[in-house]
């Protein structure tokens, strides 16, 4: 399923990738720009009763219905307090688009191979499952998120239950 979005078998392979930086809680994430269609502000959404925990309703994006996934809920963070958030609309190989709800969206950066490192074992296991490595920045670590794997993680209910365990 995974196309190995950003991840580089060799460091050279990652040179051309651009990343959109986002923040969830204290964690900065990098989404491969070619997966990101756009970033939108909070929209009216329709709750879907009985749906998986990660699902934060359905939004109408110019006539298209998109499932909104709250990243906080996926990684097991407490609910967002303020009303501020941003939704990164990402596309997947299956053709379905998803809205990933982030606390904030930063900038688009060039992936600098110099700063690339394998996902450290010290990072929560959920990140090890969905990331292809990290990028060391001045004051923080940016997790490179494989969008496909991230979406898959939100689908299976069993996996959802495992998440608390993954965070340790």
């Amino acid at each position: 399923m995974s196309k190995n979005a950003v991840v580089p078998t060799s460091k050279v392979g990652i040179c051309s990738s651009e990343l959109l930086t986002c923040r969830v809680g204290d964690q900065w994430l990098g989404l491969p720009v070619r997966h990101v269609r756009e970033v939108v502000t909070p929209m009216q959404y329709t709750d879907m009763p009985l749906s998986a925990d990660a699902v934060m309703g359905l939004i109408n994006l110019r006539g298209r219905v998109i499932t909104q996934l709250d990243v906080r809920r996926v990684i097991g963070l407490p609910p967002r307090t303020g009303s501020y958030y941003r939704v990164a609309i990402v596309e997947t190989v299956s053709g379905e688009d998803f809205g990933l709800v982030m606390d904030a969206v930063g900038e688009v950066i060039e992936l600098n191979p110099e700063h690339y490192e394998k996902t450290p074992k010290t990072l929560a296991r959920v990140w090890q499952m969905v990331s292809d490595g990290v990028l060391k920045r001045d004051d923080h670590v940016l997790v490179l998120v494989d969008v496909e794997r991230f979406i898959t993680l939100t689908i299976a209910d069993q996996q959802m239950q495992e998440i608390p365990a993954l965070l340790n």
């Binding site: 879907m48 219905v65 998109i66």
Partner: protein, 1001 residues
């Protein structure tokens, strides 16, 4: 393999093959029709020709064998029989199967057709042998061919020497048939007019020609190769043929020669019939000189006609259409929002533009929908074939009649319907239509008919499949369902035939006594229903024994846009597809139709208890159950259920959009849509919701019992007489009234202190004035009414002034009033009336009236008073009591029991403990405190036992039975009765006379 080429090849071959079945069957009906043979031959030939080029070897072999057989049939003018047709049909099936495989996988499926090919080859030889007997004339081929010569036949230049490529089944028009003049002239210009030249030029060069599309080029090459290959095969393999053909060739040549120069292949797409069976082709390597003037003329003719047909339509990829449809769906939604905003703006200018956008969108949508529509004919087309094959095998005679074949449906739906329809028709042939002998014996025509009918009915298509067969015996279906454990015997007994028939859609039911090849394997009808429901449709069945069965399928015109009811539940909105909705009910909390059985709410609807699914709790929107709101009655499978919602907003056309991957496992949703205000709304899937409903068998059973109980009460309608006096409105059950008399007031005479009336046969009866009884005397009018009340041979007359009506109503007496004379009040025809307790009236007015009444109330049977408030338990216990030969008096609560006991005394009392108004403890306490009754045995039957330690509570009972158990109930009642008899305490009022609830001494 070039994918583009393959897909063009597939599209074209599928189109060609679509008509072949029909034509083959037509041929079966008219075996001598040469035109048909030709047409069929050409189809197979074209397939073979093209596939030879693309390298589809399997397909080529099958097609080739078919082509050869057809060629022989054509050449020998063989009258095909049904065996040959069957074989050719199998050949067509095999071709279709390979085409399907190519379509789905891109490669030829791995199917072994060698047996079929051998049979085709054998048939080919057989045709040859049999042709001799069919046409005793020595030269089977020469004769027909001779007939052809007279036609102005264009013939490819014939070189007599090259006998090796001469052949019987490739004709001049074959090669290059179907191409217009431009193609022809370009080929001529290039000097590629013969097949070999074309092959030599190659695909790439042909493709370069302006007049040729790649597919055309492919076709030409294929045709050319086929011509050459067929020639080779022929000379090698078929030894006998050349002789038969030879004379023909000569004749042709002799015709062709005078027709001036050798002629070019005919570019006609649709040659006149006479030209369709042409004699021979001779392919040569030499360039062809010229075309006769006549031919050019023809070519132009054809060219002039053909574009007219071709230019009017183009092929569009279905995916593109689907995508367009989605876009328009979104446009419609955006339009809806725009229209709302424009309306809010109040600007005339905006409104005008808005309206235009609105209208254009509307038209666009309607027309785009039309592009996806196909006539139902496209799936009905092969039904005659299905029926033919089955009837052959079953040795039945069946014809298919179709009506409304042009009715159009969305192609997605059509595709989904194909299999279910085939299955239904197979079933009709197999189980429905009887063998001819049986039919004749039953006085029906020997040939059975299956009638297909399709028609549009307000946004839906209704398809009827009727057969005039034996019909389906409902009791057999029931018996089977019981045997299979689908329903219980009780359920079966309660079920009406129409409902029972629907059981055939239940998985695992098939009523055929013998399992056949075609159906009756016990799978199928449930799949049929599932498939139909998948595309939003519904199906039901009706049948009349002896005259046939009808299946009715109802499906939406299109899947993309459906009509839905928008409902509200706890501040959320949901859409329910209209097709699943039966009706809408208002169900306020105060409604008297609510019933609770266990935890499960039911709503009484026309005497039936409808299980109600609370949407709020089903979707976990609210832990609190309200049992209030509106009920949407939905059809889900075999049963209907009520969906309890808060609000119903109204009906709306919505565009169905699929839900994302996160909702795949949620069967409650069937998709989503966007409303006019831009909000996303989930569409509920009624079948999915029904699965959420957990109704235990026990609950269903008690629901049914309660339902029957209520129906019985309902059947307990009473005729009541309504009369008025002053401002009062009164009712008397007619059962107590013997006659209604209307007479002048003078007939009421005085007799001592009382008034009397001379009744029939000189009988003098007492008259009581109603006004006097209730203390509101008034003047008698000229004419008065007398209600003649009778009991045994005693009568009296109750005089009233004004009679309002006599009607039949369920007499439900409420709020017993303390007032004497009255049983209570009842609502009759929406007005309150006081129900008169006639005997109380009489007793009070004429205390001695009953005195003379002799009552021989001999008590053979023990009498039991049974007090129980729930109908369910009453129904449970009653049979037991009756089996013990008790005379059972029933009270619905303690108070009623008390009232009965005040009037008559049973041998034993059986009472529930928890009852409204007066509970079992109070009742027992009252009995013990009553002098006349204190020795009466009292048994308690309860689910909630009294406190073990509370002697006070238990003391008044002879026995407390916890939980109903038939055996122990019987034993205990017997014991208690016996011990009382033993103690020599007979029923207290053994010699009391009991007259309709009144006790006198």
């Amino acid at each position: 393999m070039d994918e583009e080429l393959l897909s063009e090849f597939l599209t074209e071959s599928n189109e060609n093959m679509a008509s072949i079945e029909e034509q083959l069957m037509e041929l079966e009906a008219n075996p001598g029709d040469e035109e048909l043979v030709n047409a069929i031959f050409r189809i197979i030939h074209t397939v073979k020709g093209s596939c030879g080029f693309i390298g589809l070897t399997r397909l080529e072999k099958v097609a080739h064998a078919g082509e050869n057989l057809l060629g022989k049939v054509r050449a020998l003018k063989f009258q095909v029989n049904d065996d040959i047709v069957s074989l050719l049909l199998s050949c067509a099936d095999a071709i279709n199967a390979i085409l399907d495989g190519l379509q789905s996988d891109g490669v030829e499926p791995d199917i072994d057709h060698s047996a079929l090919i051998r049979r085709l080859q054998a048939a080919e030889r057989l045709v040859e042998v049999m042709a001799g007997s069919q046409q005793p004339a020595a030269k089977p081929v020469a004769a027909p061919a001779a007939g052809k010569k007279v036609a102005p036949q264009p013939v490819v230049a014939a070189n007599q020497d090259s006998g090796m490529v001469a052949e019987g089944d490739i004709t001049p028009e074959m090669w290059l048939e179907g191409f217009d003049d431009a193609v022809y002239s370009q080929l001529r210009d290039k000097g590629w007019l013969t097949p070999s030249q074309a092959v030599a030029a190659g695909f790439a060069a042909l493709r370069e020609l302006d007049a040729l599309t790649p597919a055309d080029a492919l076709k030409i090459l294929g045709a050319a190769k086929a011509v050459i290959a067929a020639g080779g095969i022929r000379t090698k393999a078929v030894a006998a043929e050349p002789e038969a053909v030879e004379p023909d060739m000569e004749e042709v040549a002799s015709v062709a020669a005078p027709a001036a120069a050798p002629v070019a292949p005919e570019p006609l797409s649709a040659p006149p019939p006479a030209l369709r069976t042409p004699p021979e082709v001779k392919v040569e390597k030499e360039p062809l000189p010229a075309v006769s003037a006549k031919e050019v003329e023809k070519g132009e003719d054809a060219a002039g006609r053909k574009p007219a047909a071709g230019a009017g339509s183009i092929r569009v990829d279905v995916e593109l259409l689907d995508s367009l449809m989605n876009q328009v769906g979104e446009l419609v939604l955006t339009r809806n929002r725009l229209v709302q905003m424009v309306a809010a703006s109040g600007s005339m200018e905006f409104m005008r533009v808005g309206r235009e956008v609105d209208q254009v969108t509307e038209r666009l949508q309607a027309q785009l929908l039309r592009t996806r529509m196909q006539p139902i004919k496209t799936i009905w087309g092969n039904m005659p074939r299905v029926v033919r094959d089955i009837s052959k095998q079953l040795q039945k005679q069946i014809v298919v009649e179709m009506e409304g074949e042009e009715t159009e449906l969305d192609r997605t739906i059509l595709n989904a319907l194909k299999d279910p329809l085939t299955h239904i028709i197979r079933n009709s042939c197999d189980h429905g239509i009887e063998p001819s002998a049986v039919r004749i014996a039953a006085g029906k025509p020997a040939v059975g008919t299956i009638r297909l009918n399709a028609a549009q009915e307000s946004g839906y298509i209704v398809i009827l499949i009727e057969d005039d067969g034996a019909g389906i015996p409902a009791d057999k279906v029931k018996a089977k369902a019981v045997a299979m454990g689908v329903i219980t015997e009780d359920e079966a007994a309660a079920m009406n035939d129409k409902v029972a028939l629907q059981l055939i859609f239940n998985a695992g039911l098939s009523t055929a006594e013998t399992v056949s090849n075609f159906s009756g394997r016990g799978v199928g009808m449930d799949v049929v229903r599932t498939e139909i429901e998948k595309v939003g449709g519904s199906v039901d069945i009706s049948s009349t024994i002896g005259s046939g069965t009808t299946l009715r399928i109802r499906i939406p015109l299109t899947l993309a846009i459906i009509s839905a009811m928008i409902i509200g539940c706890r501040e959320r909105r949901f859409a329910v597809p209209q097709i699943s909705i039966r009706e809408l009910l208002s169900a306020p909390a105060t409604s008297e139709e609510w019933r609770m059985i266990g935890d499960q709410p039911f709503f009484r609807l026309r005497g039936r208890l409808l299980p109600v699914l609370d949407l709020a709790s089903t979707l976990q929107l609210d832990q609190q159950r309200r049992n209030a709101g509106s009920i949407v009655v939905i059809d889900a499978g075999e049963r209907s259920l009520g969906l309890l919602v808060d609000t119903i907003f109204g009906s709306e056309e919505i565009v169905v959009k699929p839900l994302g991957i996160h909702f795949r496992n949620l069967s409650q949703y069937g998709g989503c849509s966007i409303l006019g205000d831009g909000a996303v709304i989930p569409i509920l899937d009624c079948n999915g919701l029904a699965q959420m409903m957990k109704i235990s068998d026990e609950m269903e059973a008690s629901a049914r019992i309660r339902q029957e109980e209520e129906i019985r009460q309902e059947n307990d309608l009473q005729h009541v007489l309504l009369f008025t006096h002053a401002d009062g409105r009164y009712a008397i059950p007619m059962a107590l009234i013997e006659r209604l008399e209307h007479f002048p007031r003078e007939r009421i005479e005085r007799s001592g202190s009382s008034e009397v009336l001379q009744y029939r046969h000189g009988e003098v009866i007492r008259v009581l004035r109603w006004g006097d009884l209730i203390g509101q005397p008034d003047e008698l009018s000229e004419e008065v009414y007398g209600l003649i009340l009778s009991d045994g041979d005693h009568r009296m007359c109750l005089q009233v002034n004004e009679i309002e009506d006599i009607i039949e109503v369920p007499l439900e007496i409420k709020k017993p009033v303390q007032d004497e004379f009255f049983l209570g009040t009842a609502v009759i025809q929406n007005q309150v009336a006081e129900v008169v307790d006639v005997f109380d009236v009489i007793k009070r007015a004429v205390p001695d009236w009953f005195k003379s009444k002799a009552g021989g109330a001999s008590q053979q049977r023990s009498r039991i008073l049974f007090a129980e408030d729930t109908p369910f338990f009453r129904n449970l216990v009653l049979p037991v009591l009756e089996s013990m030969h008790f005379e059972v008096w029933i009270a619905c609560d303690g108070e009623q029991a008390k009232k009965i006991l005040e009037e008559r005394v049973p041998d034993i009392v059986l009472t529930d403990l928890e009852m409204p108004k007066m509970n079992g403890y109070e009742l027992a306490g009252w009995i013990r405190s009553n002098k006349q009754l204190q020795h009466l045995p009292v048994v308690a039957l309860t689910a909630t036992p009294p406190d073990e330690n509370d002697e006070e509570q238990r003391r008044n009972f002879d026995e407390v039975l916890v939980k109903f158990d038939r055996h122990s109930l019987v034993e205990h009642l017997r014991d208690v009765l016996a011990s009382h008899a033993h103690r020599g305490q007979p029923p207290a009022v053994e010699d009391a006379q009991i007259i309709s609830g009144e006790v006198t001494r």
